[in-house]
Symmetry: C2
Subunit: 374 residues, 2 copies
Amino acid sequence: MLGHPDPTLLLTPELRTVMQEVLSSSQAYQGLQYGPEQGTQNLLTFLAERISREQGISIEPANLMLVAGSTHAVDMLTRLFAAPGGVVLVEAPSYADALHIFRDHRVELHSVPMDDDGLRPDALEEQLLHLQTGGTPASMLYTVPNFHNPTGRTLSTERRLQIIELARRYSFLIVEDDVYHDLFFEETVPPGFYALAQGEGVASIGSFSKTLAPGFRLGWLLASREIVQRCIDCGTSQMGGGANPFAAQIVAEYCRRGHWESHLARLRSVYRMRRDTALSALGQQMPPDVTWTRPAGGFFLWLTLPGQVLARNVKRLAQRQGVEIADGTGFFVNPSDGQHNLRLAYSYAAPDELARGIQILARAIEQVKMGAED
Amino acid sequence: MLGHPDPTLLLTPELRTVMQEVLSSSQAYQGLQYGPEQGTQNLLTFLAERISREQGISIEPANLMLVAGSTHAVDMLTRLFAAPGGVVLVEAPSYADALHIFRDHRVELHSVPMDDDGLRPDALEEQLLHLQTGGTPASMLYTVPNFHNPTGRTLSTERRLQIIELARRYSFLIVEDDVYHDLFFEETVPPGFYALAQGEGVASIGSFSKTLAPGFRLGWLLASREIVQRCIDCGTSQMGGGANPFAAQIVAEYCRRGHWESHLARLRSVYRMRRDTALSALGQQMPPDVTWTRPAGGFFLWLTLPGQVLARNVKRLAQRQGVEIADGTGFFVNPSDGQHNLRLAYSYAAPDELARGIQILARAIEQVKMGAED
C-alpha cells in the first residue's frame, strides 16, 4: 500500500496524443532550451487563470513560479527563509520526507499536536510564545492542510484564520503543502491559506505529481510577488533556469486542451472508491480497539493501535505477506512518538488488493496483540 | 554572446526520432512514474561503461547518481557536505551562479588565485593553513578544472595531483564541476580528479545540458559509493525520487543508440570553429593593451582590459548595440575584483555574428578608453 498515485492511470490516450503532438511542434524545440527562471510561460498563465477562477481570488503570473515538484519548493523555501539555524514548526505527525529535508538543512524542528480538525492553534500559540521567550522565534510553519500526509485530516477554515493571525503576530512564513488539493471526495476543500491571508505571508505549493505524473517533476509555488521574486532570483534558479522546460511544454499543452480537468474528475472518483473500500474493509476486519481517520480526500488514512501493540511489529508481519505499510514513527520529530500508528495508503493498490491487504493487516494486528498479551 | 549551447544544434533528426519512439514504447510509461532515487538504471549503466572506458578506470553504477543538471549536484553537495557555516574554497574567478548557490547556503566563501595553468596550489596551501590556524578549516573546494567558466583555462595534471595531496592533508572534499569535459578542441583533457584520486574524496559533476539539451535537466554525479549513498539517502532524493525520470528515458535511449558520441564530435567541431573565429577577430580588432585567454575547449574566454577601462562601462556601451557580454565582477567572491575583465562566450552566436560582436566590443573598449583618458 504505497503512497504513490495509481500507476494504471498514468499513460492515458489523451496524454499520449499530447506528447506526440508536442514533439512534432515548435514546443519541443522550446522545451529543449534553458527556460525562463520563473518557468514556462504557457503553464504559468494557465495556472494563474485556473487558481483565480477556482479560489475566487485574483492571481497574476507574477504570483507563481514553476518548481520541479513539491520537493524543489520545500527545499528552496527552507534554504531561503529558514536555514541555517532557523526554527521550523511542523504538525505532529508530519510528512516524513519533508522532515528529512528540514533535518538536512540543520534547522531546529518543533512539532505542534493535531486533532481531528488538524493542527491545534492553541498548542501552536503556546509553542510560539515559548520559542519567542527563549530567543529563538519560529521562521516557518510547514503544514499539509488538506487531506494531510500521513493522517488524511483536513484543517478547518476557522483554524486556518487563527493560524494566519498567529503568523502575523509572531512573523513566521506559512508554507502550505497543498499537493492533494484537487483530490477531494466530498464537496470541495476549505479556502487555502494563500486566499485567506490575501496573499501575504504564505507560500503555497501545488504539484502535478499526484494528479498527472510524478515523472514529469513539475509543480508550482503560489506566493506574494516578493516571495516569488526572491525564489526566481536565488542561485539554483539562476544556474538551472526554469523547472523542467521539456516536461512543462507537454503539461502546458495537456492543460490547455482541458484534459487535466477531466482527468481530475476521474481520479477523484477512482480514489473515492478506494477510500470507501478501505473504510468498509477496516470496519469489517479490524479489532474493536483499533481506530482510524476518515479522510475527505487524498491518499492516506491513519490507524491508531492499542497501547500494547507496536506498529513496527505489525509492519514486519504484514510485510512478510506482501503488504507494505508505513509505521508511524517516521512521521514525528520525536521518533518515539507514533509507535502505535500506521499510515495506510489506498492510492496505489486496486480495490480487491486493498481489501485483501487490510484483511492481512487486521490479522497481523491480532497476532501481535496476542503475542503482547502473552 | 550568451553562455548557452548553440540553439540550432538542439533538435537533431536523431533526437526527434528517439523521442517519438520512446513515446510509443513502454519507456514512456516507466518515465511517468517516480524513479529510483539513484536515477534511471539504463542511463546509469551507460554512463558507468562510458566513463570507465574513456577514463581507463573501473566505475560501477554504485559510483553514480543522476542529478537534475549540475545545479542540483552543486546545491545538494553544499547542503550535505558544507552547510551550515562551513567553509567553501573557490577559484578567483569562479562560476557566478555557483557562488550564488554557496551564498544562499550562507557558507563562508574564500577564493584562491589562478594563473594560466589554473588554480595555484601554492596559494591554496597558504589559504588552507590560514583557515586551519583560525579554527575554520575548509569543507570543500569547488573547481571547474576543464575549460573553466569564466576563463576557459584548464588545470594542469601536475597541479591536480598537488591539490589531491592537499585535500588528503587538510581533509576537504574536491567538487569537480566538469560539465565542459567532452567539448575539447585539441586532443583530449587531462585525467579527472576522480580518476587521479582513485575515487576517494572527490565528487565529480557531469551534465547533458551543454552537450545535448539544457531543457532535459539531466546530469550525473560521480563519487565514492559512500558519497553517492549519502546523496541517495538525503531528503530531496527520498521525497522527489530520481532525477527527471521522463527525460532520463529519452536520454538513455539516445545514448544507447550511439547518437550522443556522434553529436559530441559535431559539437566539438562547431565550437572549435567558433573559438577560432573569436580568437582571430580578437587578434584583428582589439587594442594592443587588451589581453585574453586561449581556451582548449568549452564555451568561454576571458578578456583583461587596461587598468583605466571599467568593464561595466564597456558592457553598457556594447549592450546598446545588441552585444551581450558578462562583466567580470560577478565571478569573484570580492566583487571589487574583476572590474577590468569581461567573459566572452563564443558558444551561442553564429560565427559571423561573433565576429561582428567582437568588432562592436573592440570599438566600445576604445570609446571607454578615450573617455577615461579625458
